[in-house]
Symmetry: C2
Subunit: 320 residues, 2 copies
């Protein structure tokens, strides 16, 4: 394993001036309903509205000043784009963000709002990578992958470290899994800072690649992609799978209806805005009381960057 | 004035074991956008999801044990109903809640969930009062009015007291105004605990009775009632108007569009769920930078009990 305990400790110190120490919330009515003692680590209140700033900032801070002079680059339509744009602005370096043409205007505006250069491309993986390679070739900027990067994983590991420090009695932690950056970081953080802590992940049935990869031992694609959890559509990398395979207890699937019901419960009872990807672990815990009942369970609420115009679909009027 | 400084101090101590000390949140991006230093007192995180528990609990705690044996009663389709139901459950006394037939099922269920007896009536003021009088005659329960009650006003005053203690540098505080319980309590709290603190209120144009009452000096009705801020449709009482007249700096009107825009900003930037009534003061502050720019402005976010099925109306899809 390349990522050490010390690397995570250093990352936590390095990024601390730039990020929020997010609160851990509990809710007695949700605990009563579920019979589980939940501790919600609220990364929707994090800078840029998601945990991604941890990895993005750590990777950027680890660049040399020669590298920083040439800028940072990535391709993303989601929270990693905002993380790298914010890191660029904060460190005074240019950020080049390749985004698919189909990205919602609000997300493009958010990235531009941090002063990043946005380069549009066709909405497919090949176009993303080619456009990115062109940008890197032209500018000399350093590519920071959203999850297939040790410094990014190390940064994401700081989240569970904070949670363990605040809730020493924690027994289980559950994260969402997309590309596996947060999950692999959480696995390492648990391993180093509280080895008895079990790590689970929640994954949408409509993007069920990680569970297949865990079962087969090699990176698999999802049989189909159809989910409102738009942050979880990517596949694992060899790097994240290797860590996850070694440390995760299990990955649990949830349906779209379960994601929406979980989101509704958090909105109604806790009055917090979270994005669909962020509630997947909570949905998984409610679906599987056999693993979690009576336990102290941490949920990493990974982000709150939600498109409000989707609410009408998710919570339709019952009157019409 | 009947309500003393000591009464508010005692109320704060009495209700403390039953309520949350709600957090005060700040948001650098909202401050940047508006040029105002906002301090958001988050009563949407309060027990029952709104400040109303303060007044309801204080009034209930001030009843004699003979009175408590016979129960408490009120008419409300909103947060005061939940407050009295919760107070009843907590103090082991029966709560009788008269609700209009048109109340959303979720609200009826929430009140029943606290073990209260729900009595349905026709959806008009006369039916509410007659039904309530019948209940009181039958049961001997004590009627706790949602705002025309000194103990209720005293309880609501504890909110600004907490805010002043947490943010001593506060210069202005803004509340919503419906029946005036929160506003009159806030006026008294400011008067006693920080006399230099200016108090403003925000009111919807579609329920503009308080501003007329302030101008004329007597309780007026709104010219028309049409607003999504469903907690602010009631008129002042002589009692609340007398306090407000003496202490408020001004009442500012906002449109429905301004309420929705303010709600959108809090959802998107702060990731918190607030109800339309609760954002009216924030909308008023954004509309009137001439009064608030550069100042330390407290906003009492009064509650977060929102009907998620309304989101589609408030934040319509731009694609269709």
């Amino acid at each position: 394993m390349h990522i050490t305990k010390e690397a995570i400790q250093i990352a936590a110190e390095k990024i601390a001036p730039y990020i929020h120490k997010t609160p851990v919330l509990t809710n007695s009515s949700i605990n009563e309903i579920t019979g589980i003692n939940f501790y919600f680590k609220c990364e929707q209140f994090q800078k840029i509205g998601a945990f991604k700033i941890r990895g993005g900032m750590n990777a950027s801070l680890n660049l040399s000043s020669a590298q920083l002079q040439k800028g940072v680059a990535t391709h993303s339509s989601g929270n990693h784009a905002q993380a790298m744009a914010f890191a660029g602005k904060t460190l005074g370096t240019k950020a080049y963000i390749v985004m698919p043409k189909t990205s919602p205007q609000v997300k493009v505006d958010a990235v531009k709002g941090y002063g990043a250069a946005v380069i549009m491309c066709e909405p497919n993986q090949q176009a993303r990578e080619e456009t990115l390679n062109d940008i890197v070739a032209q500018t000399g900027a350093t590519f920071v992958h959203p999850y297939d990067n040790d410094d990014v994983i190390t940064g994401q590991a700081t989240c569970v470290k904070e949670l363990i420090e605040e809730v020493p009695e924690l027994e289980i932690v559950i994260t969402p899994v997309g590309g596996g950056g947060l999950l692999s970081g959480t696995c390492l953080g648990a391993h180093y800072f509280k080895p008895s802590l079990k790590v689970y992940a929640g994954e949408p049935e409509g993007a069920a690649d990680a569970i297949l990869s865990l079962r087969s031992g090699k990176v698999e694609k999802a049989p189909f992609i159809k989910t409102i959890a738009d942050g979880l559509m990517t596949t694992l990398s060899e790097r994240t799978l290797a860590i996850i395979k070694e440390h995760v207890t299990d990955i649990l699937l949830v349906t779209e209806e379960e994601i929406i019901a979980a989101m509704r419960l958090l909105y109604e009872r806790m009055k917090i805005v979270v994005e669909p990807s962020a509630v997947v672990p909570f949905a998984a815990a409610m679906k599987h009381p056999e693993f979690f009942k009576g336990k102290n369970v941490g949920i990493i609420l990974s982000g709150g960057n939600v498109d409000l115009t989707k609410f009408g679909e998710w919570f339709p009027s019952t009157i019409n």
